[in-house]
Symmetry: C2
Subunit: 257 residues, 2 copies
DNA sequence: CAGTGGTCTAGACCACCAC
DNA sequence: TGGTGGTCTAGACCACTGC
């Protein structure tokens, strides 16, 4: 029995101890924690207090609970997404995501569903089209070692999608950006807006994570050389398994000099 | 008395109802929610269930609890930080943060503490200096309408900080980047890495938010024209009140054409 | 002092899983 | 059927606030 004294609440202290044990691999990735009654006995508290401590680890993305079986330590690979350079690989016919995941020695995978819907007010504004006009939506889900790590919904104006031939699930080598380039509408200007919030219930289900757990949301607007938007994508990814990288230089120094 | 039926857990349903009331301004910004015993009576559940529902709103950043007084609805202004263009204002002697906050009609503020410490292994690696060598740390805290919204710790190699004269709290017009420019070490290349996680206990205190609430962490590395790092800054901000924007263009299209 | 929220317990019932 | 975690209750004690 390990004793716990309270300057901090006990559930927080216990969460700390469990976190530490996971870090030290006393509880190893993929393996179950001791059951809640066992932990309650060890720490000399009620099961509910243990349950609350485990709740913290869940929200941190450290463990995953399977009802009726137990609480398992997650293997947490962190993927770095390099926004500025992520499309350079497309000439080799590889998606940016594939490269990022393969670099970590993991197996990439994805699902796509294509749909046609009338543009919502928000989508219409971002794409600079009439609200209600047809847009093609590509709903993708990405996997690393068969675990879902990201969902991304892309919106392309209907007529442009027809012209570029990106209305099917398979958009050919280099993906939809390459098809857009072939019809003279290559995406050249990019704007990404990043925010961070708790996962909604539906997102939590798709990403096999807990509601409340932080997600990163990235809104990517890609525009052609005339600054006309050709594609808008909303990415949602589990906060604990991604880092986003951006690089740029400040040209104004040269101008001033 | 409002009845609640359980396909979802009751605390989640109640959290939903309360969230909705805040959105509809039945509970207005700055005002207190009804007390937990009152809400327990209204929904016909125990106070603990109410407490758990309120816990969700806290983690969402929607309310703020003051011990012994009550639970208050937060006013949540969302600040957009435009990474690429945020330093253009420095020639007018204004910090980027000041401009961002003033644009929202709010009053900006900040605190600075300057310190000298031996470089940690991590800081040394990022700054490309010897571990243990002296670095100057500027610990800043930023406020909007007197509410803390961001902490940022900047690290500059000791000798460079001396040369540029940024060892005092006040770094003069345009801030430390302008002083670095004056000694020929203007930051020109920038790299930012964004991640998202639950706030630590100490961060939660500094930012007056809840532990567990999502924060955005931004690691900014600024380098001079020779790609030598001159400053590394770790920003931590409350997730619910910030958006980060990045823009870039793909020059390779022109090269290929 | 009464009122606020924070935490903990014991006991209970449920859904789900593996055997 | 027994073990897992999910949720809820009633009752209790605490720390903090404002009067």
């Amino acid at each position: 029995m390990t004793t716990i004294e309270p300057p901090q609440p006990r559930f927080a202290q216990i969460a700390g101890v469990l976190r530490d044990r996971i870090a030290r691999e006393i509880y190893k990735g993929g393996e179950p924690l001791p059951s809640e009654p066992e932990l309650a006995k060890e720490f000399g508290v009620s099961r509910i207090t243990i349950n609350r401590a485990v709740g913290i680890l869940r929200t941190d993305g450290l463990v995953r609970v399977v009802r009726g079986r137990g609480t398992f330590v997650r293997a947490i690979p962190v993927v770095t997404r390099r926004a500025n350079s992520r499309f350079v690989a497309r000439d080799q016919g590889l998606g940016a995501f594939d490269v990022e995941v393969r670099d970590l020695g993991m197996k990439p995978g994805s699902e796509v569903v294509v749909d046609r819907v009338p543009a919502s007010d928000r989508a219409a504004e971002l794409l600079q089209v009439e609200p209600g006009s047809e847009v093609v939506v590509r709903r993708r889900r990405f996997f690393a070692n068969d675990e879902p790590v990201q969902v991304a919904d892309s919106y392309i104006p209907g007529p442009l999608a027809e012209e570029a031939g990106v209305t099917e699930a398979d958009t050919g080598p280099g993906g939809s950006y390459s098809r857009l380039a072939e019809v003279g509408r290559a995406p050249v200007f990019f704007s990404e807006t990043v925010s961070c919030r708790g996962a909604s219930a539906s997102e939590a289900k798709l990403l096999e994570m807990e509601p409340q757990q932080p997600v990163l949301e990235v809104l990517l607007i890609a525009s052609d050389r005339d600054h006309i938007p050709v594609s808008v994508t909303q990415h949602v990814m589990a906060g604990h398994q991604w880092k986003l990288n951006y690089e740029w230089s400040d040209d104004s120094e040269r101008v001033d000099a």
